[in-house]
């Protein structure tokens, strides 16, 4: 084996330069040139300030905004420590948390007679899910309209405008980007 160790070490050094060094640098250069915005993290800016990333959720609790999903990171939507809850399907802790969240949602949406959609009471895999389903957005529309003094139909129209369909018609699921939607709510009309 010893006579193989020298070539092994040398080959590893060459690969370290080529793959550990050159490859990530080449990809970084190309990505920064071709897709500068995406390579930086698809950041949203307002003037000098960075508002967040177009791809990452952030917490919303005001009545005037569309609410995102619960997040398992502590504090919620901590984009430097992604995490799911990892609670099992029969976990009593999970069931209790879901019951508490559902009750809070029902209390905040007295006009709704239907149960809240499942994703509004469950945390996502990353804890940073930027989306809710169009159904979950519609479910909140009456509350947002009430808080903003709008017609529910206006909010529903905005949901429809901000609903992204399946990619190429068959990949992924329909969804609404919560941050983008809330920016649109704030925008002067």
């Amino acid at each position: 084996m010893s006579r193989h160790l020298v070539p092994a070490l040398r080959l590893l050094l060459v690969f370290t330069l080529l793959i550990g060094g050159l490859y990530p640098l080449a990809v970084t250069l190309a990505a920064q040139l071709l897709f500068p915005d995406a390579a930086q993290g698809s950041l949203l800016r307002r003037g000098e300030d960075i508002l967040g990333s177009d791809l990452l959720g952030q917490p919303f609790s005001s009545e005037r905004y569309l609410w995102p999903r619960p997040s398992a990171t502590a504090p919620a939507y901590d984009a430097s420590r992604s995490s799911g809850s990892n609670l099992g399907p029969l976990s009593a802790e999970l069931a209790s948390a879901i019951e508490v969240r559902a009750a809070a949602l029902r209390a905040a949406h007295p006009e709704r007679t239907t149960k809240p959609p499942i994703e509004l009471v469950t945390s996502s895999g990353s804890g940073l899910d930027p989306h809710v389903s169009p159904q979950a957005a519609c479910w909140q529309a009456a509350r947002i309209a009430r808080a903003r003094g709008l017609q529910e139909a206006e909010v529903l129209a905005l949901v429809e405008r901000y609903t992204e369909g399946r990619a190429l018609g068959w990949l992924g699921e329909p969804r609404v980007n919560v941050l983008r939607f809330n920016l649109a709510l704030d925008a002067p009309r």
Binding site: L11, T28, L43, F60, G84, E119
Partner: protein, 564 residues
Amino acid sequence: MTTFDVLRMLLQFALVLALAAPLGGYLARVLGEGRTPFPGVFAPFERALYRACGIDPKRNMDWRSYALAFLALQLVGFLCLYALLRWQGSLPFNPREFADVPAPLAFNTAVSFVTNTNWQAYGGEATLSYASQTVGLTLQNFVSAACGLSVLAALARGLAARGAEQLGNFWVDVTRSTLYVLLPLALLLALALASQGVVQTFGPYVEAQTLEGGQQLIAVGPVASQVAIKQLGTNGGGFFNVNSAHPLENPTPLSNALQLGALLLLPAACCFMFGRMLGDARQGRSLLAAMALLLVPLNLLAISAERGPAPARIAAVADTGVGFMEGKEVRHGPAESATWATWTTAASNGSVNSMHDSASPLGGGVALLLMLLGEVVFGGVGSGLYGMVVFGLLTVFLAGLMVGRTPEYLGKKVQAFEIQMASIAILAPTATALIGIAVAVLTPSIRASLQDRGAHGFSEFLYAFASAANNNGSAFAGLSADTPLLNFALGLSMLIGRYLVAVPVLAIAGSMARKSPVAASVGTFPTHGALFVILLASSVLLVGALSFAPALALGPLVEHLRVR
């Protein structure tokens, strides 16, 4: 489960196979026939590389030499990665000033990436510097996958040889696999992913002021370059803690589809390469058919399980029509999350786009079963197929026993030595997983790492050891795996699962290379066609079921019965 879910999965699978066929041909040209692309440009570079490393590319190795060279590269790779992790605090490209990785975690992580397992007992964005991620982990993502391809190429040469000793040159195989296969594919995929929003920068983490006036610190990094190879090389070790569930690692349905396809692409292409290197395409296709026969029904079961019905307590307060959503992202949804969970555990990839710990009992059970079958249903790059060939030997052996004939594979007699080696390759990971779980369950200090009690807690252990011993790397992440004892036990399981399979496979290759084929007669059992495919798939299932039925019954099955 809707018809749309089923058709979408089948179309994705068909697309992967359609791409794998020409790629397999390319692999066979590069590794089997030594016809590398653009020799005018790359051949001088390759020769210079061999000269610089003191490698004689013309030297043809017997199986022992080949295995020793393979092990030497692994040993050196392990030591370098271990040292890098232990000293990352004093090295550059560490903008967050992360401390040195503690010894038990560094051992576990170094073993994990060298063995192509990529089990992660750490949270990437909160533990590792950019240097550790790129120079350390990305490098081993390439090398470990190239090693798998090389061992498969050596096995194919051994099976095709007639009375020879030599299996090829390990250094040449590993270099060509890296330069001509993995590197160009990874470059293409990395850029495609970057176009979708996968972040790629060496800049610092970003501070944002949220719309409601809070602070958000956004972890970024050289993600696209690592994600591309972690999918292609069946590695699975992501940049972020939550892997491809993270929106900056897998932001869109298109990036999800690309990563999903990439994780099955090379294991499927290996089948076509194998057939072509043996000069009989049917041999590769029959192994592929057996894999598909096991994959597709399990995939459908996983999708239907994730689509519901949900546990009663949850369904009572929420609209659970879409299915299980805890631990899943809205953009991927339950169906594509289920397909990912199935493929990533079939191929020994181990990346995740949803948290498997929160999956439905049967959905998590499918993931467990696919790992426990030995990572031969597609499996790792190279390693999946050489594992399947071992099961092929077992199948002809069982068939031979039934009719009282000496079994043959590809015209060569399968004798005691080959069956002994095949038994080691099959039993080593199986025994490791079972003994590991038993020890874990009986040791109070290890039991303290569990998040859940009862059936689900048992599943967490079962998953951890199944994942480590079969080099998958995904996890039921409720288990707090970063303890010295678990880091060591799982690290040891990964070592056994990699080398006690790869070395016996090379021994089989060496032994088969020496044999001359005998002419086929009416009594020869052909290793292609429907009968062989069904027998092979049954053998894989039978060995898995006999070994793990009790354990699977105690974990996922008990949970499933309690949901209903």
